[in-house]
Amino acid sequence: MERLEEYEILKQKLTDYIKTQDFLHLARALSIVENSQDSYELLEKLCSEFEEKEAKVIGFTGSPGAGKSSLISALIDKYAQKYGKVAVIAVDPSSPFSGGAILGDRVRMIKHSLNKKVFIRSVATRGYLGGLSSAVHDMITVLKIAGFKRILIETVGVGQSEIDVVEIADIVCLVLTPSAGDDIQAMKAGIMEIADVIVVNKADLGAERVLVALKNFMEVEEVNIPVVTTVALENKGIEELFNILEEAQSRIKPSDKKLLRLKHAIRSILEKRVEGVVEKLRSEANFENKNFYSILNNLKGVI
């Protein structure tokens, strides 16, 4: 698609959404941004014509199975009630082999699918190994223009995504489970830097041990991060978590995040480019030639 045509359609869809509040148009606008090659060109134009309204992004991270989707599902109603509408971006990994993905986070949020105040979108990482899709940042921008005041991001929960989510989200909620005692040990280096709020979900399985581990750890590190225990499926602790998240929000200065976001955006653009080159190499490499170094040598021009 021509760049200009692409932009005109994006603009039209977003205008239609703002006018009608019909998710059909918003969903199409997000696809254009997600599929665009150099989306920042589109978005620069978009931001010059539309107002990017004040909004907060809350990132949820934690091991697979910790209950991120269920927690978000439980929180959705609170956000929808307070802000009129709420958006969720749920990220799942793409297969590095086929490029395909199974996006299953919605299964836990399905009860909201007919709620006109709740917009949920599943996103595959598309080659960005372990991290948030490079499109997520752009999709957030579109959602802000669309008037969402709160945007919840669910990460893949492993690898690069912890670092990504800090750069993209205004506050980060780390989701642990009672069996996470060892996780805390393993995450020591990163955990305190990334979490603004810590949740111990599935607390019905007995949260004491992990709470003690957290307490000890925070004492040693001389930090104080709010910890909330929840049972997402029974809606326990959700009210408290919501209040703590909202409170944490007000402590964050928007300017603190700008540089981090820029860093993330630049990195994802570079990664996209590098991936393009790798793809090109793959298609141009002559594997008939058995010697690895000869293959590389023949690729000199491409690199």
Binding site: S95, G100, A101, R106
Partner: protein, 139 residues
């Protein structure tokens, strides 16, 4: 970022047998498609709204309860009513051969019955962009 074809795999109605849907979802993933899975026992409205928010290119319905003649065309109709003119709908499950012509006449692009090789479903899925082009002309 390159465009990927997005497919919603959904189970409308009341039967709880989702093995088939999951096997197809996995085959499509391995063929490079992005598959959104909703879980079991979805209403037609839930499926339609999910398809719209996710902006999928196609919806694959799996049904083993016998209600396909009612539910499959209903999904197509509601999608079109909601303004999703170019989302391809296909289906699978325990569907008697005699019912297939009716479904095809009512907007279902393909019907896959037990025993269909997964490669056939994948081949079909690769044609989704063409089918969308056709739908855009028709609707």
């Amino acid at each position: 970022m390159e465009r990927r074809i997005r497919i919603l795999i959904a189970k409308p109605g009341l039967d709880g047998h989702d093995r088939g849907a999951k096997v197809v979802a996995r085959a499509l993933r391995d063929a490079g498609f992005e598959v959104i899975y909703t879980g079991r026992r979805q209403t037609v409205d839930q499926i339609v709204e999910t398809a719209i928010q996710e902006d999928v290119d196609a919806v694959g319905l799996s049904l083993l309860s016998g209600a396909h003649n009612t539910l499959f065309p209903k999904v197509v109709r509601k999608l079109r009513e909601r303004g999703a003119k170019d989302i391809v709908v296909f289906g699978g499950g325990v569907i008697p051969p005699d019912d297939i012509p009716f479904l095809l006449e009512n907007g279902i692009a393909a019907v896959f019955t037990p025993g269909t090789p997964l490669s056939e479903v994948v081949e079909f899925a690769k044609k989704i962009p063409e089918l969308q082009e056709q739908l855009r002309k028709e609707n």
